[in-house]
Amino acid sequence: MAIHREIYILAGMDHPNIMRLYEVIDTKNHVHLAMELCPGLALNEFTAENSQPVKMRNGMKGAFLDERLARDLFRQIVSAVAYVHSLELVHRNLKINQIIVIPETKAIKFTDFGFATSF
C-alpha cells in the first residue's frame, strides 16, 4: 500500500526542506497523517508571479527570476534531493507541482512521498 510506504519513509526523514510528519492517527475508516503545514505556492506559480519580463537583444521575449533568489531556491532543492538519496531513497514523483515555496521565508518544501521507494 502507498500509505504504509509513505509513512515508513517520511517517519525516518528530518530535513528543513522536506515536509515533516509528526504523528499518525489511526481510526476505523481513515488513516490521518498530521503533517507540517506549508502555506505557500507551487514552484511554477511562484516563479510565474515573481519573474520579470525582459526583452532580449535578438527580439525574443523572456521572463527571469532574480538571480540570487533562483540560486537560493535551487540550492535548497538540490540539498533536499541529496538528503533523500543519501538515505538510499528515491522520490520518483518529483515535479514542479510537488515542490512548495513559502513566500515569506523563501523556503522550499518537498511534498508527496507516496511513490518513493528504496533502491
Binding site: Y22, I25, L33
Partner: protein
C-alpha cells in the same frame, strides 16, 4: 642563410614574419591607439576634480528620489511583522513536539485522538488518494496539515 639559391615560398613568408614585429598590422593597432588615449583622458578628468570644492553627497540625488522614505519604513514594518509570526509559529511548534514526546514517554499508544486534540478547518488540497485539511492543535494552537486516506 642569405646566400640560399632557391627562392622558396617559405623564405618569403619567413622574411615577412621577421619584418612584422617592426611594422605591425595596420587595422588593429590603429583601433587600440585611438581608444586608449581617450580612456586615459576620461579617467584623468574624473580624478582631477579640484579637492578644495564642497564634499560630494554620499547618495546621488537620483537614488534618494527613487525610493520614498515612508515606503522603506512600511516595508521594514511588514518584514518585522513577518518575523514575529514566524517566531510565534516556531515557539508553538516546539510546544507541539514536546507534547508528542511527553506522551510517548508516558506510554500513550495512540498519541492523539482526533476529536479531543484537533479542531478541523477547511480543505486545502486534494490528491489522487488523499484529502488535506487544515487543523489546529487545541493545547498549543499550532496549525497542522491533516492528510486523510480512506481505508479499503
Amino acid at each position: 642563410m642569405e646566400s640560399t639559391p632557391k627562392p622558396n615560398k617559405h623564405s618569403k613568408l619567413n622574411e615577412d614574419i621577421l619584418k612584422s614585429p617592426t611594422t605591425p598590422a595596420p587595422t588593429r593597432t590603429s583601433k587600440f591607439e585611438t581608444n586608449t588615449p581617450t580612456r586615459h583622458k576620461q579617467e584623468a578628468s574624473v580624478f582631477s576634480d579640484p579637492p578644495d570644492n564642497a564634499p560630494r553627497p554620499l547618495l546621488s540625488p537620483k537614488a534618494s528620489t527613487s525610493v520614498a522614505p515612508s515606503q522603506v519604513l512600511s516595508d521594514l514594518e511588514q518584514a518585522a511583522k513577518r518575523l514575529k509570526t514566524i517566531q510565534k509559529q516556531n515557539e508553538l511548534k516546539l510546544i507541539f513536539i514536546k507534547t508528542i514526546e511527553d506522551r510517548k514517554a508516558k506510554g500513550k499508544d495512540p498519541v492523539f485522538s482526533l476529536k479531543d486534540d484537533f479542531a478541523i478547518h477547511q480543505q486545502i488540497g486534494q490528491g489522487a488518494y488523499a484529502v488535506i485539511k487544515k487543523c489546529t492543535h487545541r493545547d498549543s494552537g499550532y496549525k497542522v496539515a491533516l492528510k486523510t486516506y480512506e481505508k479499503k
